[in-house]
Symmetry: C2
Subunit: 387 residues, 2 copies
């Protein structure tokens, strides 16, 4: 095992009926908050009323900041930071999925900084403070509800990248699986893909061959997420499946799965971010395209871990490690297809002729992401395996 620091102070409140605690959980951090949410589904479902009712009861006033879209953009966050400062607010309540929470965290960091918040994303400045954030989660996918990261797209540069800081952990996050019942089937499945790739990044990129506990945790997590997704595909209102999916997605990127794996990097995410930045496709859909290609590219050189994945997750036996490795990747790809996730660029509506353009965009992140080996040529070679 490699040395690591693990710190995760988010107070998770999990289960049905817990939303009315948001007021009380928020009140200790602020009396005047920015209420960040998405394109309005929280108003249709009644969640907005539940949240604001609870805030009101706890004596918390709010300023509305709705309209965050999937693949959230820098311009929205910059504007919200302006509102936050102008209104002299003291905290942020995020009601939504990863896009909304990431926007809230970006506002949290920017609200206590005099320069442009994009400085944090480019490494020009470090985050030394942030306003408190509380969360009501509506999508099982990103795990932003229990980590210190946020991803934003800069529409001017078409760069989609992230910040990570100890100051950005939500203070409290309410995870009621019932709030995911209304998530459309395709987005539910993309969330499952996202969570699976969150744990496969440290699983396959670890510099340490001896992390048995983390390996088993990750394998169990993937099996649980696939089982739950299969049920949700047919029964969107199945509480147990939604609950297991929600908790699985949170646990997939809260620091535990990657602890002890060494500095692993997130190359599948880096490449995918170019797809969703350029084509505005769902992040999970983009990952379903990129991940099998990336795995096919890497497995032949060091098949051991890929073979273990095949054996333990898909019960694939027999053959050589190389054969089992490729069978495991094929099985994962088949599963993605079975839940209607795209597995080729064409499936995702992306022309193969754009491969070089995508590779250049992804390569522009490689220094920032600590992945200098990912040259334009390497990325293009990987993407050609997704044709």
């Amino acid at each position: 095992m490699q040395n690591f620091d693990l710190y995760n102070p988010t107070n998770v409140v999990f289960g049905k009926g817990e939303v009315p605690r948001i007021g009380e959980l928020t009140a200790s951090y602020g009396r005047r908050v920015l209420l960040v949410y998405g394109l309005g589904s929280v108003k249709k479902t009644g969640l907005y009323d539940k949240v604001t009712g609870s805030l009101r009861e706890a004596g918390v006033e709010w300023v509305d900041s709705g309209g965050v879209k999937p693949n959230p953009v820098l311009s929205f966050a910059r504007e919200a930071i302006g509102t936050f400062k102008q209104e002299k607010l003291d905290a942020i309540v995020a009601v939504g999925g990863g896009s909304v929470i990431d926007t809230a965290k970006t506002v949290a960091a920017g609200s206590r900084y005099d320069g442009d918040v994009w400085d944090f994303f480019t490494g020009k400045a470090g985050i030394e403070d942030a306003s408190p954030v509380t969360v009501v989660l509506t999508l099982a996918a990103a795990a932003s509800e229990m980590n210190g990261g946020a991803v934003i797209t800069n529409e001017d540069t078409l760069q989609k990248t992230h910040i990570v800081s100890r100051h950005l952990f939500p203070k409290a996050s309410i995870l009621d699986p019932v709030n995911t019942f209304t998530v459309p089937r395709n987005y539910s499945m993309y969330g499952a893909v996202d969570a699976i790739i969150h744990v496969l990044e440290p699983y396959f990129n670890s510099s340490d061959p001896d992390t048995p506990l983390q390996d088993r945790f990750i394998e169990g997590l993937i099996k649980t997420i696939m089982e739950s997704a299969d049920i949700i595909y047919r029964q969107p209102n199945n509480y147990n499946a939604r609950a297991n999916m929600m908790w699985g997605a949170t646990m997939a990127l809260n620091g535990i799965a990657s602890s002890g794996a060494g500095c692993t990097g997130f190359p599948m995410h880096m490449i995918e971010h170019s797809l969703s930045a350029i084509y505005d496709i769902a992040h999970g859909a983009g990952l379903a395209v990129v991940a099998p290609a990336w795995m096919k590219y890497n497995a032949p050189e060091e098949p051991r871990k890929y073979a273990q994945f095949a054996e333990r997750v898909f019960d694939i036996g027999g053959g050589t490690p190389e054969e089992r490795a490729l069978e495991g990747i094929a099985a994962l790809e088949r599963w993605f297809s079975s839940v209607d996730a795209p597995v080729t660029l064409e499936d995702a509506g992306i022309p193969a002729e754009d491969i070089n353009k995508i590779a250049k965009n992804a390569n522009s992140l490689s220094e920032l992401w600590g992945l200098p080996d990912y040259t334009v040529d390497v990325i293009a070679d990987i993407l050609r395996l997704a044709v």
Copy 2:
């Protein structure tokens, strides 16, 4: 899955060479600390010098409070609370295993309370504040380094019981597996038993039949701990095995394994506490005696989960669920024996004639532990299966 709150703000610093960070990690919480440790092995190994050197460098003064013994006692904690208050200290550094950390936490709670600290253990008072605690861990077993619990024995009443509070999470804990190289073989193995039972309590006592992620996490944890213990048994200085054991033991009782399982209770621990309170045996040794008996008592009524345990942890197939359940328990018992842990009262040097005395002692805790069904007769019936 059942509703739950999960909150664990301890900053874990894991790996070889990390001990010199204790000064810096402590300094933000206090400049004058109580240094709690055990019977002196930390002086022999040089760890004491490393810790105090780091404290000195960070400008932190300390008052020595050595001499905590296994199955730590109330009188020691009371005295240390007196010292803490008299010297007007502001934090506590614990260098040791569960006994030392639990003593430090008891002092932390008592240091900010005017009454007798035992009030917290009997439920007469609630913990509303505590002094900060930092930890350098030397034993993989209790997980006190990453949770809000502490166990103390009251020598006057012979009651061994616990406190749990959000105020008692260590602020930071340094887990260097090298510091466990010198733990004697028997205590290393008892630590493994302790960690295994920590996860089997929620596994078998859960009120929820649908916790697939937690189940797999627990099964993976038990397999990892058994594998690591088998290596440590032969190679006490094997870093990877010590690392996997140490991280496994911490993860076994930091709130994650039991999340979503409902209010499970800790009956195996409750019964064992009477053995170690009365006979001063190692807690892990006592658990190796109590756990198989408790499992044999409970498995016939509801064998499903026991059969799953047998299948997934010991690869036991065939037969009826009842048969697999009993085979799984026998396999665990055999494994305990294989690492020289006692599995009968006689093995542990406890006379079978004392069963009623032990049962009465354990029963005296049953109300406090929320386990009113554990009458003297039930406990005696269970203990008779350990003869």
